[in-house]
Symmetry: C2
Subunit: 497 residues, 2 copies
């Protein structure tokens, strides 16, 4: 074997190596690259650390440390104390590992990955007029939250810093009590499962109770997020229309019972319909007869403006076919990422185990802080503080819009929640209207986008009034009105297709 001492390839590679991360790393990468590209062939002897250091103008120690790493990883080998050599066992791959061959350019996302991406609707923008589904966090008592949370981030509470299993007991107890008081839900703490959001709740339900290919009924129009999560979990999502009484199951679909039925009965999202008692009883009877599970999404029940919270579907189901999903995102702050399920007693163990297995629980300090926050009355106080503010914003928005648009619009819901749904009398292109408004910095969600099927599609907008103080509402409303105006046909011409 020729005893050539190869300096030149290393010097060249070093010149081209990334400078960002320190000299030792840079030299390591250079030598490695030279080896893998074959320019430093297997068995070649490397220069001594002293001579290479001199050649590159770096400290000898830098070279020694780089060599050590390459030796440890098998790129280099020593031979009885005399010299350092490129390992004999390196096969320089043909063409694969050459410098700059950055990837084969093929993006091989899976079929279900493609579907997920195609339907993805989470917004990059997360605030301002009129983003629906987000609260006004400027009034959140951060100082109180910080103080309480801080009590659980201490050495004496270090047991809370480990993985969790089955959630934090006192939080589940507080929640069970709270739900008993406000939703007539009779449940034990064991039936409460803490998760990090509604999406995870729906995903967990789909994994535990449904198999790939099972059918799931979704309200249509309905919450896009739940639809996407159910689809991503491999379920076949079937749209069911919604009317003034809530979910209105198509007669022909009743012959094809689903595994899961997703409803928001207290305040249908986005139409605001409250599921009537007759429909509730019918749904529960149907679910029991066919072994379907009902997912009750109770996302905004704290923010009711004109009445008491409506008793839950969960509490009405004697045969316990309902999984209740609640969240703190709208009442506290969305970034907290805390939500919960209430499951029938027979499923409590299964959901607890599955939750821990799929997601590895934790965040006990936050759960403990939330339990104390609720127990000490801060939760109720915050809701009481926000409710009149939100009601005022809702009413202001409604007045400003109806003042200008009159009978060109009607309003759906508006009795609860952080959004106002506007339906256009004419079938305007609400997607184009939303795009125009977005150009001027105002977010609104086209109502048509909430529908899977054309037959349930309505033209309108879902507007989040919560983040907009009344004194700052005029301007974004003007932008909205301009966008609508730009897409309305002059009166006298037909609405057209």
């Amino acid at each position: 074997m020729p005893r050539e001492i190869s300096v030149e390839p290393i010097v060249a590679a070093f010149a081209g190596a990334p400078v960002r991360n320190g000299l030792r790393n840079r030299l390591y990468l250079a030598v490695r690259q030279a080896i893998l590209s074959g320019r430093l062939p297997a068995g070649a002897e490397l220069p001594s650390s002293r001579s290479l250091a001199r050649e590159l103008g770096v400290a000898r120690n830098t070279v020694l440390r780089a060599y050590e790493l390459l030796l440890a990883e098998g790129y280099l080998e020593g031979r009885g104390g005399s010299g350092t050599f490129v390992s004999e066992r390196i096969r320089a791959p043909q063409g694969t590992m050459t410098e700059g061959a950055g990837g084969n350019g093929q993006v091989a996302v899976s079929a279900r990955g493609k579907t997920l991406l195609a339907h993805a609707a989470s917004s990059r923008l997360q605030g301002g007029a009129f983003m629906p589904g987000i609260p006004d966090v400027s009034h959140f008592p951060f100082a109180v939250w910080r103080r309480i949370l801080g009590r659980y981030l201490r050495p004496e509470q270090r047991h809370l810093a480990q993985y969790g299993y089955g959630g934090y007991g006192p939080l589940k107890t507080v929640l069970a009590q709270y739900l008993g008081m406000t939703r007539m839900m009779s449940c034990t703490p064991q039936q409460v499962v803490i998760v990090n959001g509604t999406h995870q709740a729906v995903d967990l339900i789909a994994r535990v109770l449904a198999d790939v290919g099972d059918r799931a009924w979704m309200e249509d129009p309905g919450y896009w997020g739940a639809r996407n999560v159910l689809q991503a979990a491999g379920l076949e999502v079937v749209a069911q229309p919604v009317d003034g009484e809530g979910l209105a199951i198509r007669p022909e679909e009743r012959e094809r019972p689903p595994r899961l039925i997703f409803v928001s009965p207290s305040c249908q999202y986005p139409t605001g319909a409250v599921m009537s008692l007759g429909r509730r009883l019918d749904l529960l009877e149907y679910a029991e007869r066919h072994g379907s599970w009902v997912i009750e999404d109770d996302y905004d029940n704290e923010m009711r403006f004109h009445s008491q919270p409506i008793a839950s579907l969960f509490g009405l189901s004697r045969s316990q076919r309902v999984i209740y999903v609640g969240t703190f995102s709208k009442v506290l702050f969305p970034g907290l990422r805390l939500a919960y399920l209430v499951v029938p007693p027979s499923l409590a163990e299964a959901f607890t185990v599955a939750n821990a297995e799929l997601y590895r629980e934790g965040r006990l300090p936050e759960q403990a802080a939330l339990a104390e926050f609720i127990d000490d009355g801060h939760f109720s106080a915050h809701i009481r503080r926000m409710r009149p503010l939100y009601r005022e914003r809702l009413e202001t928005l409604r007045e400003l819009l109806s003042g200008e648009l009159g009978t060109a619009v009607s309003f759906l819901g508006g009795h609860a929640g952080l959004h106002l749904t506007v339906q256009f009398a004419e079938p305007l292109d609400d997607v184009a209207i939303a795009a125009s408004a977005l150009n001027e910095g105002v977010i609104c969600r086209p109502l048509s986008r909430y529908s899977l099927e054309a037959s349930t599609r309505r033209s309108g907008m879902v507007l989040g009034f919560a983040p907009v103080p009344v004194e700052r509402m005029r301007r974004p409303v003007e932008i909205l009105l301009r966008a609508i105006g730009a897409h309305r046909r002059p009166s006298g011409q037909g609405a057209g297709g």
Copy 2:
């Protein structure tokens, strides 16, 4: 219609209704139950609020409020101002909704739910000797963390309280720099995806890059958690054995390329093998040729006791077939639930969108706190503080065991990570040994349980030394030795099947 005023059914139901949640709720539930069971038939007139209050011994207001709720929900209806009646539209379901019919007793978990539950291995117990995979959190600088986190839970930082999208920029930047320095990984912040744990990372990868029924190779023995998550995501998990050089793909399996290959090359879990350079190059070449994706689980690279961190597989892959997964659970505290992926540039957008869509991001205050914690040097300081402590515990445990057991055991790994893997020279029943130890309060994981296939199964134990200070190690070791002793055959007798 008979004008009977029905007091008796209400009084009876009230007596039996849950007392926990206030009188108004109790009465509401009682009347509702009486209606749904048919004891208060459709059209029946209810007693006046005054007379019912007198009958039950409650305030008239309580009755009025209960009636209001029942009216609002459709159980009762008024008739022109004179009297309150059970709604005509209530069909009392036959036998379905009767009191006490608590569920049909059938637990209908799905097939994949059953599989998940059957293989679930997350432990209810989360601490103490010798729970593997958890750090000693008693030395974590909670005061520093609390202070830094508190800076981001303030009104002036309220934009951090909203939903996230694409993670917190400065954290991704800090991570990209850190990985460049310590793992020779050249990546941009855009390639970093923040998730809430390794399980979620693997789940995300499986959903974006693989379809149901696709094949995934797992090291065997290997990390049960990743195996279960991959199976739960619908993949067919195929075990590949591990030897002293890491993953050793069976020759016949090479004909059946998988979509995903899960490896822990820096420190194979649980055997501790470091994947040799030759195997690394072979794996990357194979992955590129067949379009497989390699998941690199780098769970414990900070805790190396005898050498520099080993350069990542990710950094070695010119064709970018590696998804790198790292976590803070072992270095900070597991309950924090923060981890990350580093994906090839071509997949950065897809993973960002999918992550937001499936899980709805948030926790920006924690991410901001972590970025500052790392930037200000607390992260490195904590690692430097813990490393000698952990090394001492590792060595103490090894000495205590080898001192008693001698050649009856050999040790695998021990050069990195928070666990020591002990292999028994004889094929002892390690599951029984673990059960005996657990009876006396000591946790150890049977090594055999880490293997899917009998052919790779080894008898031994995986011991987490991290939570055990050296001065408290003797007692749990004694318990362990007792448990082992109880299951060893006297010398001279064959090891048997």
